[in-house]
Amino acid sequence: MDPTDQLLSERIQEYAPRLMESLAESGIMMGFAIVAAIVFGLPLGTLLFLTASGKPMENSWLYQMANIFVNIVRSFPFLLLVIAMQPAIRLLYGRATGDPIAASFPMMLIAIVLYARFVEQSLLDVPRGVIETAQSMGATLPQLVWKFLYVEARSSLIIGFTTAFVSLISYSTIMGVVGGGGIGDFAIRYGYQRYETDVMYVAIIFIIIFVELIQKLGLNLARKIDKR
């Protein structure tokens, strides 16, 4: 029987368990990526800012190292990055394909460099006088970062995070190639490989709603805490 003859609601019910599973896989990949962005991307972006020429921790060697790392990862076509990372993931995690945790490694790497650049740019937008003021008060480097820079940059840090998040959703749809699963993989498998386009559109609608939601949330939060 032609699958499109079935009622959509019936078909959604039929695919619901598999859809839920895909969403959970996406959740795992996104979760790891987000944590990596905050735990490593934020400090890396801050390091890029602080070590640049004329900045409080000026160190051209450190800056160049960080800058080159970010540029290399960012300029890698993502699909090739995923494949190139396979041996390293196998070494670290035991297996490189077939589960969403293994697939999270490239997601984490791209999340780190993506967010690091946003963080660097946000901090560059903080007026010069803020650093001068912190220094005139004898602030330590951690105090400068936490009590001055992040305070003044906070809404743009959140907007950058939102933008990175949305890009990461897009990156995550590729992870099916290494068996990472996820909602993107679900859409491709049913819509493209099995010509069940209605199921694919349902999956895409899920993605769009989710992106919209994240964007709204991020922008609202950023606006709310921006007192400038």
């Binding site: 007026p127 006088g129 803020v130 001068e132 003021t133 220094q135 005139s136 008060m137 004898g138 602030a139 330590t140 105090q143 009590k147 001055f148 305070v151 003044e152 906070r154 809404s155 805490i225 921006d226 007192k227 400038r228």
Partner: protein, 247 residues
């Protein structure tokens, strides 16, 4: 006592290295109100920033109470910087913090032996009713008063002022000058004030150094204004300049 002894500093610019400060020597006494005047680019801010070690001279020494502050170790330097507060031309408030949070900021960085209670300092600068507001809702004069309150709350021994009125109109300038005078009368800190506005120096300082192209040309004693009105109003100045001024 603050002594600048033969301090020099060079910077790089497009045409190579140039001397922004050239062998400058002078002494500021405790509790003095000392001015540094000169045209834009003369090196006033650089000189001021030597005093709180935001800038390090290439040659010469900055001695405060007998110690070369640029040779202090990290913790001693921080201890010294705690006694030196600074206010700025552009006020430099944190826009995401309220008036009260801005004023309290230095207290979040270090423990100070002696501070002024928040209520007192708010009253001192006349901002009690603005304490919960954000800088974007304040006028320029109010912002500078927050800057002054943020400086005063730690009871600094030295207050550095970098063009504190240069972004303000004449009436507001007078207000800020009065607040600074009152602060000096009340707390007796040493004030070092940098500006190109001669009237502000005349009102506020007892001595001033004149700086030209990084070189100190004179240190002069300032005649106190004869009467309170000597600070010309905008109207008076406008009439001077526009009707019987230079022709």
């Amino acid at each position: 006592m603050i002594t600048l002894d033969q301090v020099s500093k060079s910077f790089q610019n497009n045409s190579g290295e140039f001397k922004a400060i050239d062998a400058v020597t002078f002494t500021i006494q405790d509790h003095e109100r000392f001015g540094i005047i000169g045209e834009s680019g003369a090196g006033k801010s650089t000189l001021l920033r030597f005093i709180n070690a935001l800038e390090t001279p290439d040659e010469g020494a900055v001695m405060v109470d007998g110690k070369n502050i640029h040779q202090l170790n990290k913790s001693a330097l921080r201890l010294y910087q705690k006694q030196v507060a600074m206010i700025f031309q552009e006020f430099n408030l944190l826009n995401n913090k309220t008036v009260e949070e801005n004023i309290r900021l230095p207290l979040e960085l270090h423990a100070y032996p002696e501070t002024i209670p928040m209520e007192t300092v708010l009253d001192f600068v006349g901002l009690r009713d603005k304490r919960g507001q954000y800088p974007k809702d304040l006028s320029g004069g109010q912002k500078q008063r927050v800057g002054i309150a943020r400086a005063l709350i730690t009871r600094p021994k030295i207050l550095l002022c970098d063009e504190p009125t240069s972004a303000l109109d004449l009436g507001t300038t007078k207000e800020i000058v009065d607040v600074l005078k009152k602060a000096h009368d009340t707390f007796g800190m040493t004030i070092v004030l940098v500006t190109h506005e001669l009237e502000v120096i005349k009102e506020l300082c007892t001595r001033a150094a004149i700086l030209e192209n990084g070189m100190l040309t004179d240190v002069i004693k300032i005649e106190p204004p004869k009467n309170k009105k000597s600070y010309s109003s905008y109207r008076k100045r406008a009439l001077e300049v526009l009707s019987h001024g230079s022709d």
